[in-house]
């Protein structure tokens, strides 16, 4: 049975650890009954709320007291020179790092999500994230699809590969791909879950002109799907966003 913990409204669950998904014995278990409900909830508007978020590595301050709110359709560019903390900021938003101060919350259907569940909302395309070289392009997407339980069919996954310009390469091992093709694969993998929140770090790294067209299409489509945040030091890419945060001031 699929479900979630009722206690996870910004509180520690009763069990002290995390939601006992599938544990109907727990009094705080809230079952989600129908698959249709799950699909519908996917389309619910997520809201990202940052309140006085701060992060530092030793004496080096990455951000201090950042507060903002983003809703579906919002596009935010995180800009700044190399080493200013753009990647760190995206890692904070994806839950890969914890802020030193302040809070980051994803509100879904009005309720804040447990940090351990953010990965169901968030997709990340970044240079320090890789797919499996030993698997083919299609095997990689199948794996992401199955382990996340996103329910995409084989045809839909092949269509995703076509969308990012990798038609006809589905049976090739990723080890044989160029860096630009691997970047396109990261887009395909990120889109398997139809993410309500899409985080893009150096989104056009290694991409050729047609790859950049793919990137522009992805962020255009994301406007109707949810939130898009891109970290870049390219002014042209930054102009695609409605709002900007300047890092490293």
């Amino acid at each position: 049975m699929v479900g979630e913990c009722r206690q996870l409204s910004g509180k520690t669950p009763l069990c002290g650890f995390f939601a006992f998904r599938g544990c109907a014995i727990c009094p705080y278990f809230l079952p989600i009954m129908a698959t249709e409900t799950n699909n519908a909830s996917l389309k619910d508007d997520p809201t990202l709320v940052l309140e006085k978020v701060s992060k530092a590595f030793g004496p080096r301050r990455i951000c201090s007291n950042v507060s903002l709110e983003l809703k579906t359709g919002d596009r935010l560019a995180v800009v700044g020179p190399n080493g200013s903390g753009k990647t760190t900021f995206l890692k904070l938003l994806s839950g890969l790092l914890r802020p030193d101060g302040g809070t980051i919350s994803y509100l879904h259907s009005g309720r804040p999500l447990d940090r351990g569940s953010w990965h169901r909302l968030v997709s990340l395309v970044a240079p320090d994230l890789a797919l499996y070289d030993e698997l083919t392009a299609l095997e990689n997407l199948r794996f992401v699809n199955k382990i996340g339980g996103w329910g995409k069919t084989g045809a839909e996954l092949i269509s995703l590969l076509e969308d990012v310009g990798l038609k006809g390469r589905e049976s090739d091992l990723l080890a044989t791909f160029s860096s630009g093709m691997k970047q396109r694969m990261k887009y395909a993998a990120a889109l398997v879950k139809t993410p309500p929140v899409l985080l893009l770090d150096e989104p056009t790294a290694s991409l050729d002109e047609s790859g950049i067209v793919v990137f522009r299409q992805v962020i255009e489509k994301q406007r109707s799907r949810g939130i898009c945040i891109l970290a870049t030091n390219d002014p042209q890419e930054a102009r695609l966003a409605d709002r900007q945060i300047l890092m490293g001031r």
């Binding site: 990340l124 030993e134 095997e139 794996f143 996103w150």
Partner: protein, 227 residues
Amino acid sequence: MPTGKSSWAAKVLALLVKDLRTEYRTRYAVSAIFLFALTTLAAVSFSLGAGGLPAHYLSVLFWVILFFSALSGLAQSFIKEAEAKTATTLQLAADDDVVYFGKWTFNLVLLLGLEVFVVPLFLILLGVEVSRWGLFTAAVILGSVGMVSATTLIASVIAAAGVRGALFSVLSLPVLLPLLVPLVQVTEYCFSPGVMESGITEIRLLAAYAGVATTGGWLLFPFVWRE
């Protein structure tokens, strides 16, 4: 909140299949485990020969070979993810418990596969007769589950560290020592035809260790994986 359509078991199976497939194509952990086991087994059998060794020594040798073979390979599943930068992909793709039990199952399959190969070779090369196969099989299976549960969690800890090889052995030894003592004892009973001890106490200890290590690993894994 978005939730997946697949069952929890299907997600664990997806990770297991992915790990088996990548392992089949790279032989990353298999070669480390099997080469270590074969080398030590060959060295022991050539130097000691078949027969004549007391059951206690045989039992110690048996678990030393399996223990160090396991140490050489069971950490690889997490280390490989960290080195290939795919750990982040996994963190953003799957629930923590799916990752823990997927890796746990893969390590168990790997260790049981090693045992299917090493146990008959050990018995043949060192001329060991097993008097109680049921007890012996139970000890090997429970020992493997305990070993895999402890090493899966430790592997996830050391995957984020710099000096991985040394750290894995240093952390594993104290955690696995309480497992090795009853394992050696109950295996000695199985290798000694005249011994009357039932071995039930040791089997209970092994089952308790396996249960505690698996549950503890499951509960602690999210903290190790996300922090």
